[in-house]
């Protein structure tokens, strides 16, 4: 048991979350305690339910059973944009960028919940609106610089290289000012060099923005490098949890992940 868990309240806590898709039990009694500033990993074979867990916590689906609390506040039943605004940012496995929008517009739009000028301000162009839009634009440019994509600011995202799109998506997620960041396979489809870059980027996010990170990943090397603790998910159930070392040597994990030795 992590000793700090006893003294500090957890940032994000998921208790016995279970979800059924019709008759299919996608997630069973999932528990998570994420401390401030922690980086944790969630690994598991395809179809294990990793993304489902993300979707449940971020409100895309509502869990059949269980509790989710961010800083002690209940999240179950809130709409996804409310959950996002309360400090839970995420990226997507297949990125889900907006294909007709520029890089800068992506990051600007993620400030939506922070805007206060209201519809009247938008219709009539109030002074408050221009002040706020300016602040949002400045902040967005700063984020783009942090992720080293500022030179693409006015380009349509779909025209950009894959690695750049990934970074844009992260910049967009960070614009929502999350306390917890969910990264869904941030290295999917990346070359080994890009992978090393991505490790650097995630470290940088972690240090600069002081966010806690939960990471879904396939590549063990990547998870081992970054995460303090790792959960392994198979058929919607956590079969092992521990430090990277413990997970690497856990026979159940090896079996689930790589198959049995004889078979291989």
């Amino acid at each position: 048991m992590n000793t700090s868990a006893v003294h500090n309240p957890p940032l994000l806590q998921v208790i016995e979350m279970t979800h059924f898709f019709g008759g299919l039990r996608a997630v069973h009694d999932y528990n998570l305690t994420l401390m401030p500033g922690q980086i944790r990993g969630l690994i598991g074979p395809n179809g294990a339910g990793k993304t489902t867990i993300f979707n449940l916590i971020t409100g895309i689906h509502t869990p059949t059973r269980g509790r989710i609390e961010l800083e002690g506040r209940n999240l179950v039943g809130l709409r996804p944009h409310q959950i996002a605004a309360s400090g839970l940012g995420r990226t997507f496995q297949n990125m889900l960028l907006w294909r007709h929008m520029t890089v800068l517009e992506h990051v600007r739009l993620a400030h939506y919940a922070q805007l206060k000028y209201g519809l009247a301000g938008a219709f009539f162009g109030s002074r408050l609106r221009y002040a706020e839009e300016q602040r949002v634009a400045d902040n967005s440019m700063r984020l783009l610089e942090t992720f080293d994509v500022a030179r693409f600011a006015d380009q349509i995202v779909t025209n950009l290289p894959y690695g750049v799109q990934r970074r844009v998506e992260m910049a967009r997620a960070m614009a929502t000012e999350p306390k917890v960041l969910f990264l869904d396979e941030p290295t999917a489809g990346m070359t080994p060099e890009e992978l090393v870059q991505m490790i650097g980027i995630i470290r940088k996010i972690h240090e600069e923005f002081k966010v806690a990170i939960l990471l879904i990943e396939h590549r063990l090397k990547f998870v081992m490098e970054l995460c303090e603790r790792i959960q392994t998910l198979v058929f919607g159930e956590v079969i092992a949890e521990g430090t990277p070392e413990e997970i690497k040597n856990n026979p159940d994990v090896i079996e689930a992940y790589l198959g049995k030795e004889e078979v291989a």
Partner: protein, 432 residues
């Protein structure tokens, strides 16, 4: 074939002398210069148009640049062309080019004053142009007003179909709600009428209440839009399109069956309040507000919902509110356009807000370009003009317009000027 390619390219080279040179020399003309050029042209037409028409054996001053006339009497083509050249093309080009020096200096000066002042100056000039141009005939006046109403309508449907990407077929319904609600308001209060009896207020007060009538029309349409907006939370794409189509028919049948507002015979006798300045002001305000909205981050949320709703939600965008706003906002302006329309044609029937109008407004928005204020204006003006010009062809009109539309869709699948922001500063700025 291969030998022909260099030939054509050399002939293009030779012609590169004349037309492109004109193009280049006109490229330095700012918007202000063009407006002054056009103003000169319409004044020339106002002063010598009749004389020139007689000299060129034209029956009268051609209403729409001679095009309608030529379709009726093809032999008049040379005269009509000459008229257009002498009255429009040459004066506009010459004045615009010759004044480029000082109009550019003026544009630079206008860049320093607050933007609204610069916009008002340009709008004033544009209004002057329209005013002089429409002096020539009542027909022209009505065409100009209906085109401006079409601009409002197209912009409003672009908010839903373009910016938010839902294929909404309910626009004639919204327009009908606006037309009827505003008509009921004005007939009830200001007109002795067969449906509602004596006027409650003197008619002379009426024009001051016209904006209220329009807002009431818009509000009625916006309320009606809830019928489509609420299902849009749960369903999208084809299914929502069907719901919106159903909405259009519901409105039409409902009006047909409400006898107190005239039933299928419609409602007539509205006061003629859609004057040129009123419609012009309405259009300008409509463009201003819609442009303001779609350029704000709140407005960009519409794009995000269109391109990926789940991502929009995860980035804190309240998607339900966004959809609701888009539908109600779009419907509001359609309702206002309906109010203007009712007070221009002064007789509305439920039949006029049917599938034909839907086809027209969809043609305008897809022809002009989705997700674009400029595109909406281009689409509304060009389709209305084409449809007016082709009137002498009667039924063939409905072969030619769809053909044009198909060609546009093949070569520019999102419309002529899609995804173009309306940047007032750039449009009005100096060209040097």
């Amino acid at each position: 074939m291969a030998t022909q390619i260099p030939q054509t390219s050399t002939s293009e080279h030779a012609s590169a002398g004349f037309l492109p040179r004109i193009g280049r020399s006109l490229a330095v003309v700012p918007a202000l210069g063009w407006l002054i050029g056009v103003l000169c042209a319409v004044i020339i037409e106002y002063v010598i148009g009749d004389t020139l028409a007689v000299m060129l054996y034209l029956p009268k001053v051609p209403a729409l640049f001679g095009t309608t006339l030529v379709l009726k009497e093809p032999l008049l083509f040379p005269s009509a062309l000459l008229f257009v050249l002498l009255v429009y093309a040459l004066p506009i080009g010459a004045v615009a080019r010759m004044s480029a020096g000082w109009t550019n200096r003026a544009a630079v000066a206008l860049e320093r004053v607050p933007i609204w002042l610069s916009v008002l100056v340009h709008l004033g000039l544009l209004y002057a142009v329209l005013h002089v141009w429409t002096e020539a005939s009542d027909y022209r006046l009505q065409v100009a007003k209906l085109i401006m109403i079409a601009v409002m309508l197209t912009l409003s449907i672009n908010v839903i179909n373009g910016y938010m990407g839902e294929f909404s077929c309910s626009h004639p319904g919204f327009m009908a709600l606006g037309a009827y609600a505003s008509s009921v308001f004005t007939l009830l209060l200001f007109k002795q009428d067969r449906l509602f009896g004596a006027a409650l207020l003197p008619e002379s007060l009426g024009p001051y209440f016209f904006p209220i009538a329009l807002v009431i029309g818009g509000a009625a349409a916006a309320l009606g839009a809830l019928v489509v907006a609420i299902p849009s939370f749960r369903t999208r794409g084809d299914y929502l399109a069907i719901i919106s189509l159903a909405f259009m028919f519901i409105v039409k049948s409902a009006i047909e069956n409400i006898e107190p507002i005239g039933g299928p015979r419609g409602m007539g006798g509205q006061p003629h309040w859609s004057t040129l300045p009123a419609v012009f002001a309405g259009m300008a305000i409509c463009i201003w507000i819609i442009n303001n909205f779609v350029r704000s981050t709140m407005g960009k949320a519409l794009n995000a919902v269109r391109d990926n709703e789940i991502a929009a939600d995860a980035m804190t965008v309240n998607t339900r509110r966004t959809k609701m706003v888009a539908f109600m906002f779009g419907a509001f302006w359609a309702g206002v356009a309906g109010g203007f329309y009712a007070h221009e044609v002064r007789h509305v029937t439920p039949g006029s807000f049917g599938i034909q109008m839907l086809a027209e407004v969809l043609a305008m928005v897809y022809f002009g370009g989705l997700n674009s204020v400029v595109g909406s204006i281009v689409g509304a003006v060009s389709i209305s003009m084409i449809s007016e010009i082709l009137k002498p062809l009667q039924l063939y009109k409905w072969i030619i317009i769809p053909l044009i539309l198909i060609l546009v869709m093949i070569f520019r699948p999102t419309g002529l000027v899609a995804f173009r922001d309306f940047d007032i500063k750039r449009i009005l700025g100096a060209r040097r």
